[in-house]
């Protein structure tokens, strides 16, 4: 296999919890991301799913190097970027972009759209003259399905879906190889989500982009991703090809997550077998011992309380961290 575009190896991001005003003292550690490994190939979409607090967004920020890393290694396009500082990251920013969740908060309300989309071009010196700049903006706007004559407007004149397209156009400006999308459609109305999902898919086919797609909506992730990693309390509990994962989830948490999502068809819903887990996600401040899911797992055994199951390769690109599947 060719070198992956992105390789994340045993990534850990821990946040200290401080108490006190003058004499600050560390009283605990939040294990937001605690040993996450995955690779992402060129032109591929990897979904990162899980409930709030599972570390999916922090993982995305760490890959962007917008978050300090406690331990582990991140390689992007063959370069070790784990300890890159801002200046070292700048040339790589062209290749590594981000689309945010909130299309209202992520666009500067005082900038016109052509400046929002064009700013990366100016910063990276990719617009030598006005004509090139304007042509590129028009091209980018058309690419994401916006009319180029809207370039003179301010963000408030656009709807949520259109703003998200502006955010995508800005991310595309420097022709990146990887875009990290953090919940890019969850703030949009359902009839608008499909528009943005389709734009992302078309761009991938046309430009060969890779996406790290962070989301909690399992139906959207299934539609868009080639491979999916399921996270729980800072760990990947299962990673597999999309079809394998959705057809036969192996980890009890993946199974519970799938069965919690209702299918938009009353006939199918009535016939479905459902696994309902009890309780809520425990705090990442004091994650449970052993397997972190054992407190809610319907299939927990004695050893799950003490032994932490490693993420084990099951063949065919699937890995699972569960004693049911990996324990002898």
């Amino acid at each position: 296999m060719a070198d992956p575009l992105l390789r994340v190896d045993n990534l850990k991001v821990h946040f200290p919890v401080m108490r006190g005003v003058l004499w600050k003292k560390q009283v605990g550690t939040v294990h937001a991301v605690d040993g996450v490994s995955f690779t992402l190939a060129r032109g591929e979409t990897l979904g990162l799913v899980g409930e709030s607090g599972c570390g999916k967004s922090t993982t995305g920020l760490a890959v962007l190097r917008m978050q300090d890393i406690t331990a582990g290694r991140i390689e992007f396009e063959g370069q070790d970027i784990t300890h890159h500082d801002k200046a070292q990251m700048r040339p790589l920013r062209q290749r590594l972009q981000m689309v945010y969740q909130d299309p209202y908060g992520s666009l500067n309300p005082r900038m016109k759209v052509n400046r929002i989309i064009g700013e990366p071009l100016v910063v990276h010196g990719m617009a030598p003259d006005k004509a090139t700049y304007d042509a590129r903006i028009a091209e980018l706007m058309r690419t994401v399905g916006l009319l180029p004559d809207m370039a003179d407007r301010y963000p408030h004149e656009f709807s949520g879906g259109q703003r998200q397209r502006i955010g995508i156009a800005r991310a595309l400006a420097l022709e990146p190889s990887l875009i990290i999308c953090d919940e890019p459609v969850s703030a949009l109305d359902v009839s608008i989500q499909a528009q943005v999902v389709n734009v992302l898919q078309e761009l991938q086919e046309r430009l060969g982009l890779a996406y790290l797609f962070i989301a909690h909506d399992l139906s959207v992730v299934r539609h868009l991703c080639h491979r999916v990693a399921v996270m729980y309390l800072g760990r990947i509990v299962e990673i597999a090809d999309r079809n394998a994962l959705y057809q036969e989830p192996l980890h009890p948490y993946t199974q519970a997550l799938m069965s919690a999502v209702p299918v938009a068809d009353p006939v199918v819903e009535r016939a479905r077998k459902r696994i309902v887990v009890q309780g809520e996600v425990p705090s990442a401040l004091n994650p449970p011992s052993g397997c972190r899911f054992h407190t809610r797992c319907p299939m927990a055994m004695d050893r799950c309380k003490t032994a932490d199951p490693p993420l084990t390769d099951m063949g065919q690109g699937r890995s699972v961290a569960c004693h049911l599947h990996t324990g002898a």
Partner: protein, 323 residues
């Protein structure tokens, strides 16, 4: 057939805004039978939440007011009731569960007092008994360690627990109707399933009717008996759930179903988005509000809004197309 428990007829609710008067709910009619679960589906601005608040007469006035219509609950028109009479209905015979459990609980009162308050107010139970009832109710919503949770404050609860407390409060007086406005939107999926299962189960056991307001077509499919689809303040389609999903008739309903990826859908086909933007309530077109985004729209559609008409028993559509 016995008369419905709730019958909303030609409800119109308006708001005065800086951009002029907007009609958030426009000639909305639907019925809820005793013990039935009806889902009201729509996107932001469709008027689904304003409909719910209108039923309970909780529209802030100004800027809003209920212009016209009837809301018959158990034979009585809620819109003709005095404020005092209305207070004997609210929280007693009709209960409401809001989307944001944190902002709808009082942070300075214990959960027990809030869950017990309806019992104290409406049943005139002394506080000692009301708190006893609160303990029982928290057990009913399967709050772990209910006995000690009675004395806890909302900030000590997780999102799921707060929503359980809200459900306990709603059930306190055994209402005939529970209105839940996006009760699980702020929660994680596994907790969402727990809460909705609980709500549906308790409504069934106590015989309460449930009005579930949501934008999630999956949630509707799982829990609703009947569905009311709203767009730009109007009901565009209303049908039994199985019928609606098997054969949606209104182009907007069809569009919604085709635009949402399903957990069991075909991943090789593109989603079919509804083109255009959701309607701006301050600038609703003269005719059908969906016409600008509709592939089948004709000149007739742009002249007058189509009336809701029966196409099958219990299945109504507001579209002139022979669908």
């Amino acid at each position: 057939m016995s008369p419905p428990l709730l019958s909303v007829r030609h409800l119109v609710t308006r708001f005065r805004t800086a951009r002029g008067q907007i009609t958030a709910v426009n000639d909305v009619s639907f019925e809820v039978a005793a013990g039935e679960t009806v889902a009201i589906v729509g996107e932001s601005g469709s008027g689904k939440s304003v409909t719910a608040l209108s039923i309970l007469r909780l529209i802030p006035d100004p800027p809003g007011h209920i212009q016209s219509g009837e809301i018959l609950f158990d034979g009585q028109d809620l819109l003709k009731m005095s404020d005092v009479e209305m207070r004997t209905v609210r929280g007693n015979r009709i209960a409401m569960i809001f989307q944001e459990p944190m902002s709808s609980l009082n942070p300075s009162l214990t959960v027990g007092m809030q869950v017990g308050e309806p019992v104290h107010l409406h049943r005139r139970a002394p506080w000692r008994m009301a708190l006893e009832k609160a303990r029982e109710l928290l057990g009913l919503v399967r709050m772990s360690d209910a006995a000690s949770r009675v004395n806890a404050y909302p900030h000590q609860f997780s999102g799921g627990m707060r929503q359980r407390a809200m459900i306990a409060m709603a059930l306190a007086c055994e209402p005939q109707l529970i209105i839940a406005d996006e009760p699980t939107t702020a929660l994680d999926v596994t907790v969402q399933a727990q809460i909705l299962d609980l709500l549906k189960d308790l409504a069934e056991r106590t015989g309460s009717a449930l009005v579930l307001i949501t934008h999630d077509l999956g949630v509707v499919a799982r829990y609703a008996d009947r569905v009311v689809v709203m767009y730009a303040g109007r009901v565009v389609e209303s049908a039994p759930a199985a019928q609606l999903y098997a054969r949606p008739r209104h182009p907007y309903t069809q569009g919604l179903m085709a635009s949402v990826p399903r957990l069991d859908g075909d991943t090789n086909v593109r989603l079919v988005p509804i083109e255009g933007q959701p309607p701006d309530l301050a600038r609703i077109p003269d005719g059908c509000a969906f016409a600008p985004r509709c592939n089948h729209a004709t000149d007739t559609c742009r002249q007058a809004p189509p009336a809701l008409r029966d196409i099958e028993p219990r299945h109504q559509v507001a579209c002139i197309l022979e669908v």
